[in-house]
Structure formats: structure tokens, C-alpha cells
Symmetry: C2
Subunit: 563 residues, 2 copies
């Protein structure tokens, strides 16, 4: 008699429901619902390129549809019964907060604020709050530097309080009307449990710790005094937030009858506290102490965990986040990342590929990435004479500096597109090595590396280059849906062993995750050449990233002054 | 009663004949003959990309055809008579030497060496002799450093002795069989005068001084001892070369009856000593003391002249050549340049422009350079946030270093092709400013700048950027054929005033050259921004060019080791 869990993965453009077998993590059925509002689910403003919002109505609709459809698919299997679903977990993008009323409903549901993007969810990649982020950082540096130590020293414009502060500046009416400011991963859990009122929500420590400076050592959220120093109304607003936050796997509640009816599954199913996609994806990839999980897509997110009692490791300079319980209860979750990886390759393919290449790719029935990869794969390491820095979207780890830009050198009059493409791939691999060296330097040993996400799944050349550049084997997560699988795992933990689930994340992980057979082993001749190239990369990294030559920032200053 | 002169311009792909009015330099007729042998006149070897040769039979055929056809066109003008042609001047590419027999005929004319590329002319851009160039430089540094002071400190693989030395290494039979090694500009003058025997040729001091280390201060060509130190046969060969060299404008002889008949013009016309295209082009642009003439094409050649009696100015570090009389008799000719200018833009257009741009350019009926220029022209200085180094083909002046490569920084995920295009144009302008600052630093004042060549003629955006980057007005030479006009001017000087020509180059220049009406004046807001960007360029220039970070060379080392 199998038991099943549902993982819900709320992404930028869609929501995915995944039904997994609790015993081995095997996928029974999955369904993706694409958001309807905005451009591929993102509400934009043509007069303000920094704005990116999301309509929470899409989440509700998507939740219902994706679960209903995946249950329908699973039901084709005669072994499956909805009565055997024991738990549900949720992962979402973040920080993606929205203003809610006293019942926990989105403010955009009200007549007054209908269609107002400020009353909708502020998507993770909304960058309207840059000034506020800067003010928060400066204010914290002066008055409460401890708030910055676990988040890499700079508070980001993508995060919870920057967005709240900006909302206060641009739409005080919405600010004054809301009863709370809630992350997507908490809101969607509330939808399932029916406990939506802000005071009853079980907030995620992953969201709280990584994005809202929440830490029990400092009394939870930043103090009223600190927030008042930014704006009196922010200080007052602290009461409308929360004083507790929980790791995923903790049971947030049970599926409420109203939602159960909509989904066509029984009420009472255990619902886990939510978390962010990368953090749950790391668990879906099989993370444990000593494992680095790399979630590789348009950007890369690096996740590790280590024991709380290890001591002395809390402050690793340049690591964007270290939060107790953000990945697994009982461990410090460590988050690092590269602001652009696949995005750099996409930029290059869109902006820099001549038509001759397009027609050849078409002839071979390949997309441009595949075609360039076949050409780039024929090159030896070092053969192009090129070297690049992977900073087209700034540097998140270890420099924590959005005001850095790309660099490429070594071009001759014969330099070809595939050579540049390979140099860009190598640059992201060098960036990955910098992160590994930094955490190891501070005592967090990286014993193995598991990769997941589109780039890891689809591009053996990229994986081989990462193996050769880091000198370490690259493993690939077995599941192609590690985030949704991670969410399902937490559903099984919230259910507990008595219900047929698990009592610890470790047990659930060991049973429900695995690796693909292929492992990319480093090739020693290549490792040797890349060691030399990495030295050159690191010199450029330090020259342009550590203040010796701040030309990139001065160019941005000039750019901004002439626009 | 007008008098006329003929200028002959032997280029890489074709030869042009130009018939000008002696009184005002006005063009009466012109004709271009495209070489037949090889690829657009260049004999290449698919197994050796460094090889570039030229069939001297093309020169002979081209000389006859282009003169005959231009005379035919001129004859449509009833005022014109071939009896009124008083002089002929010749400019050519260089260093482009060829092996000749005792009668001065190309060795490739003989049965034995027919079709042998080593027995043809070694075109200026033949790079097969890199090793030999290096050996010559090292040998001179150790034993005769004075030979290097006037040529920028490094003997180039493109030059006379490198090619002669390489010929000895790869085809000793050709080496042993030849009676001399003759530059194209001397060979073609011999064709006209009929005095082709090596001992009778009037060699050009422009070729001798800039490419063969010839200097009367050191006894002419490098000593027998020096050459023997490279190879005993080279030492012996010195006797087959020359001990005198002459500035253009000196009469080399008169048109011989045999050639006169072929050309359909009277025998006895004065023939000037030859010189290189850039040097004669500078005169065709109206060069005088204080004027910098920039000949802008795939690469840029910078020419200046200054008085011999000025003193103390001979050694300007990083200036590739300073030769007494190489431009005008009585002045030191100074040659500097940028190894790639138009070539960088061509590389970018060929290798990095997406098909969307191609179709839009086609729609607008523009070539890609025109289309990118219209887009790039809409950008403000500094707006792209990009900065580039113009070293895709190394750096000729002031670093004299072929082992430097391109660099571009400042890219984001939104960087567009036209932004990169503009950044590349700006990089070449910064490179031009470095040269100006260097010569002024050593006391050679640049009072005005005259531009000629394709880029200067056709692209106002480029000229405006050069004006804004240098903070100086950019003037454009009136003639579109400055090299051939310069050659014609020297024909008029060789003829002398008694024959209706001129007795000095200065007089001929003042009467026969002029400027276009348009002058690109610097725009002060732009100058200000470019001053800031230039400072950044200069820092990168020094970091990567002066040894602080030799990453470009190390990348080339690695590249060469893995190929």
C-alpha cells in the first residue's frame, strides 16, 4: 500500500504540482499551470523596466488546476487513491511578498485596489526598491551591523523590507490599508490550511532569515527602533508582521475542507511550512553535510548545510545568507549564488550570433545553444586565448556587488562566436570555483557537488567544463523536478511516520532522492590548463572586484549621468 | 596650356593610375586594374595562413593597363594631350620585396622558379617570418642596438630582412639564385625607367629607412658583420643590396622608349624615386610641419614630418619609424599607426551581428556598417557603459607589441550590438589619442589633423568621435585618392619647374592639395565625458600593455601550447 505526497512549486511563470511515491520518491504524475496575467505571468510596466509584479489570483487558480490535473493523471494508475495522499509541501520564488487584508486575502482582491500592481505580489525580480535597499544597508551599517552579517553585508533591493519601504513611498494608501505583508510561500500554505489570517500564518524561517533579517539571536525581526529610524510608519508596522518563523517539515496545519473540495482530495492532509524553491530543491537533490547543491538555470543558486554546533562559521565574508533551519531543521542553511549564468549565454545567443550560424543551426535542426555547444566542445581548454568575467548581471557571491559588469579579453581578428561562447561558460565555472574556495577557506568542506536544473540536465559540455575547472566530479540529481520533489519530501515529513511519512528530513531525503548514473569526472590535462586560466581569472576578479580598478562602477556612474 | 602628371598607386589588390593637372591637383582621369593572380591579388597557401605573396606579373600588366585606360579617359578632354604629361610618380605597399635576376626581372619569370611563391613578391602582410624577426631583434639588441632606435625597438616580421632571412631558411635555391632583393616601389620605378638591373636601381629611402634599418649615420644598411652574425650567407648577400637610397621627388630616370610604347605616351617623361603609399598619401593630404595625417582604413597609418635641425627628437619611444627624407626631402618622416581599425569593425560585423540586424539593414538598403552607425550615432558618449581596448591585432604604437589582444568590459544582459560597435570605434579613437599625446610629450607639436582613407571619407560618426575624444578638429583631405595624388605630386617635382612642374615638394603640395569644406569640431560636452573615459582607457592600456598584468601574453602562450 503506497502513500503519496504532493509537491507544489510556484515559479516565476507557472506553478507545477508533482505527485510522488513516499517510499522512493518516484514521480507518479505532474502538471504545469502557466499563469494568465501579465507577460508569462509577470506584470510589467512599460514606463518602469524595474517593475515586476504577479497577480496572486494566478497562484490560487494555478494551485487548484495543477493539483486537480495531476491527481487526474495519477488516477490512471490503479494503485493510486487520493486517500493515500498524506502530505503537501510548497516551495515558491522569493522574496515575493504581497499586501493582505485582515482575513489574509490579497489587497488586490478588494474593489478599491483591483488592478493596482502595488496591491499585488512584488515578484522576487522587482527592482523598484533600489534606493530603499541602499538606505536600509546604510542605516544598518551605522546602527545595527549585526543585521547584515548573515546576509553578506548588503541588503538587496529584491528583499522583503526594501519592497515594503518602497511601497510606503509610492503608494501610502495601500501601505496604510494592509493588515500584513506576506511572502508567497506563507500565503500559499495559508490557502491550503485555511489559516490565512496574518496572525495565524506559520511563517517560513527560510524567507524570514534570508530576506527579512530574521534571527532569534537578535530578537527575531529587526527592532522597532531600527525600522522607525527608516520611517516611523515602518516601526509601527512591525506589529503587523511576525515574531516566530519555522523550518519546512514542521506541520503548518491540515488541508482545510473548502480547499480539499476544490482540489478533489480529502481534507486533513498534513501541510508543511513553506520555503523557497532553491532551498527545497537542494533537499530534492539529496543535500547533506559536505554536499554542495548547484541549481543551475538563468542564474545559479548554491546551497549547503552544516551543523549548528560546528561553531565559528557563521560569518563567511561574501556569502549572501546563512540561516538556521532555512534548508533543514537542525542545520545552518548556506545560500550563495551567481547572478547570471544561463542568462549570459542567452544574452550572447540573442545579441551576438551572426546569421550564418543561425542558418547552419537550422540546417542541423538544432537550437543555437546546441549548435554553439557542438562547436565549442571541439575546442581544447585554452585554445581560444579568451578569458571572461561572468559579471553581466553583477556579482552575488563572493563580491556581493550588483555594480559590476562583464569583461572579455583576448580577442583577435579571427575570434569566432563559439570561442566566446565557451569562454563565457568557462567564466561561470571560474565564478563557481571562487565560491567553493571561499566556503572551504572558512572551514565548510565541499566533499561532493550535485547539480540540478536545466543547464545541468541538458548540457554535458558545461558539466565537463565545471568538472575540469573545479577539479571535482560533477554529479546530477536524478529528478528533473528537484524543487517540487523537495516540497513533496517536506510534505512527507509534515505527515510523519505514523501517517506513512517520515519523522526526519534526513530519512525522507535518503529514501526519496537519488543521482543519475552519469558523473562528469575531471580530466587531468584539462584541470592543469584550467588551473592556469583560473589564476588569471582570479587576478582580474580581484583587480576589478576588490577596488583596485573600479572602472566598472565609474562607467556605470557616467552611464547614469548621461541617460 | 596645362601640364599633367601621372600617379601610380600599387595596392594590395589592385593598381590605380591617376592623371592630375599640375596647376591645381585636379583629377582628370583614373583607372583601377584588379590583379588577376591569387585571391584578389594575394597568393595564399591553405596550409599556411601566414603566407601572402603577390605575382609581379600582375604589377607589370596592371601598370600598362591602368595607364593606357586612364590616358584613354583623359583624352576625352580636348585640352589634354599626352605630350603634356611631364612626370610620373609611384607609391606601393611595403615592405613588399621580391627576388630578381641580374637583369632585374623577377625570379618567378624564369622557367626554373615559375609558379614558386618564394620566387614571387613577399607582400607586406606576409607573416611567415616571425621567428626570423625575433632573431633579428634579439641579435640587434645584443650587438647593435642603434639599428632599433629609429624603428620602435622591435624589428617586424613584415619587413625586408625578416623576409630575406626566412627565404634563406625555406628556399635556399631561390636565395642562391637571385641577384638582388628589391622592394616593389623600386622595382616598378625600374620598369618605367628601363634601368632595372639591381646595380642601377634608384632605391627609395622610405623603404630602406623604415623597413631595412638603412641610415647614413650607421653606414647605410646594417653591417656585413651584423648580417653574418645571423647567417654567413646573409652577410655575403649585403653586396647584392645597396649603399645609397633616395627621397621621392628625386628623378630616378626618364620613361624608357620600350615602356613608353606600351603605355601609349611619349618617352622621356621624368620618373620620380618611389615610396610607400602612406608616406606619399600624407603628401597628397597636404602634410607640413605640425600636421598629423591619418590614413584610415583597415589599419591606420599616422604620418608627420619635422625639421632635421630640430634636434633631440629622434628617439620617441614606441614610434615605429623616423627616417630622414622618407616623406619629404629635408624633413624627418615620422610613421606611427594602429594595427587594426576598420579591421576591428569588420571583425565585429562579420562575427557578432545577429540576423535580426541583418534583415533590418537589408530593409533599409544599408550595409551593416551604415546600419550600425545610424544606431550607434544615436547614443550619447558614455551611455553604453562599455570600454574597449583596440588591440585585436596587437598594438603597433606606442606599445610596439603584437602579442596584445582585444578587451571589452562593461557588458550587462542588455548590451546591444550597436553599443559594442560604438565602443570599438571609441577604442580606436582613444588609441589615436595615445599616439598624439606621445609625440607631443616628446616635443613634436600636433597643430592640426588631416584624415584620409575610406573611414574618414565615409563615416561622419567616426570622425566626430575622433574629434570629441582628441578634443581637436578633424579635417578631411580633399582628394579621395591621396596616395595616387601624392605619387603624382612627386612626378611633378621630378619633372621640375623648367618642364612645367615644381622644384620643391612644398610648392607642389601647396598647389595640388586641399581640404574638404566639412570640419568635425569637438563638442565640449562630449569632450568632457570622453576625457573621463580616456582616463579609464589609459589605465587599462597601462595595466595590460606595460607588464603589470601580462594576462594577454600568457593566454597566447597557453593557446599556442594546446594547438
Amino acid at each position: 500500500m503506497s502513500k503519496y505526497v504532493i509537491g507544489l512549486d510556484f515559479g516565476t511563470n507557472s506553478v507545477r504540482a508533482l505527485i510522488d511515491d513516499v517510499s522512493d520518491g518516484n514521480e507518479l504524475a505532474t502538471h504545469v499551470y502557466n499563469y494568465r496575467d501579465g507577460v508569462e505571468g509577470v506584470i510589467i510596466d512599460n514606463t518602469n523596466p524595474h517593475l515586476a509584479r504577479q497577480n496572486p489570483a494566478d497562484w490560487v487558480e494555478g494551485l487548484v488546476e495543477s493539483v486537480k490535473e495531476s491527481v487526474k493523471k495519477a488516477s490512471e494508475n490503479i494503485a493510486f487513491s487520493t486517500d493515500d495522499i498524506i502530505g503537501i509541501g510548497v516551495d515558491t520564488t522569493g522574496s515575493t511578498p504581497l499586501p493582505v487584508d485582515e482575513n489574509g486575502y490579497p489587497l488586490s482582491y478588494s474593489k478599491e485596489f483591483e488592478g493596482n500592481p502595488n496591491a499585488m505580489a512584488w515578484l522576487w525580480k522587482d527592482h523598484t526598491s533600489a534606493n530603499e535597499a541602499h538606505k536600509i544597508t546604510e542605516h544598518a551599517k551605522k546602527t545595527a551591523p549585526q543585521y547584515l552579517t548573515r546576509i553578506g553585508g548588503i541588503y538587496s533591493s529584491e528583499w522583503f523590507f526594501s519592497k515594503l519601504y518602497h511601497l510606503l513611498h509610492v503608494d501610502e494608501k495601500v501601505f496604510d490599508s494592509m493588515a500584513s505583508w506576506v511572502e508567497c510561500c506563507d500565503f500559499t500554505v495559508g490557502l491550503l490550511t485555511g489559516e490565512m489570517e496574518p496572525g495565524k500564518l506559520k511563517r517560513s524561517v527560510c524567507a524570514a532569515g534570508h530576506k527579512a533579517m530574521f534571527n532569534y539571536d537578535y530578537g527575531g525581526l529587526p527592532s522597532k527602533e531600527f525600522l522607525s529610524g527608516l520611517h516611523p510608519k515602518l516601526g509601527t508596522f512591525r506589529n503587523k508582521l511576525y515574531s516566530e518563523a519555522h523550518p519546512a517539515g514542521v506541520k503548518a496545519g491540515e488541508l482545510c475542507p473548502e480547499m480539499a473540495e476544490k482540489l478533489g482530495i480529502p481534507a486533513g492532509i498534513a501541510i508543511s511550512v513553506g520555503a523557497f524553491d532553491a532551498h527545497m530543491g537542494a533537499v530534492g537533490s539529496g543535500i547533506k553535510e559536505g554536499t554542495l547543491v548547484k541549481i543551475m538555470g538563468t542564474s545559479t543558486c548554491d546551497i549547503m548545510v552544516f551543523s549548528k554546533d560546528r561553531g565559528g562559521l557563521h560569518d563567511i565574508p561574501g556569502i549572501c545568507g546563512m540561516v538556521d533551519g532555512s534548508v533543514m531543521d537542525g542545520y545552518i542553511g548556506l545560500e550563495a549564488g551567481q547572478s547570471a549564468v544561463g542568462d549570459i549565454f542567452n544574452w550572447f545567443v540573442k545579441k551576438c550570433i551572426p546569421s550564418g550560424y543561425e542558418s547552419k543551426a537550422k540546417e542541423k535542426n538544432m537550437d543555437m545553444h546546441e549548435y554553439l555547444t557542438t562547436l565549442a566542445d571541439e575546442l581544447n581548454p585554452g585554445q581560444s586565448g579568451l578569458l571572461a568575467l561572468d559579471w553581466n548581471n553583477g556579482n552575488r557571491t563572493i563580491l556581493v556587488d550588483p555594480r559590476l559588469t562583464g569583461l572579455i579579453l583576448g580577442m583577435t581578428l579571427n575570434t569566432r562566436p563559439e570561442e566566446i561562447y565557451r569562454a563565457l561558460v568557462e567564466a561561470t565555472a571560474f565564478g563557481a570555483r571562487v565560491i567553493i574556495e571561499r566556503v572551504e577557506e572558512y572551514g565548510v568542506e565541499v566533499r561532493d557537488i550535485i547539480n540540478c536544473g536545466g543547464l545541468a540536465e541538458k548540457n554535458p559540455m558545461i558539466m565537463q567544463i565545471y568538472a575540469d575547472v573545479t577539479g571535482r566530479p560533477m554529479k546530477i540529481s536524478r529528478s528533473a523536478q528537484t524543487c517540487a520533489l523537495g516540497a513533496a519530501i517536506f510534505g512527507a515529513v509534515a505527515a510523519g511516520s505514523a501517517a506513512g511519512g517520515y519523522d526526519s528530513v534526513e530519512d525522507a531525503r535518503d529514501r526519496m532522492t537519488g543521482l543519475k548514473d552519469v558523473i562528469y569526472e575531471p580530466i587531468s590535462e584539462n584541470v592543469e590548463i584550467y588551473d592556469r586560466l583560473y589564476k588569471e581569472y582570479k587576478t582580474l576578479h580581484d583587480t576589478f572586484g576588490l577596488g583596485e580598478n573600479d572602472v566598472m562602477k565609474r562607467l556605470l556612474d557616467i552611464k547614469e549621468s548621461v541617460l
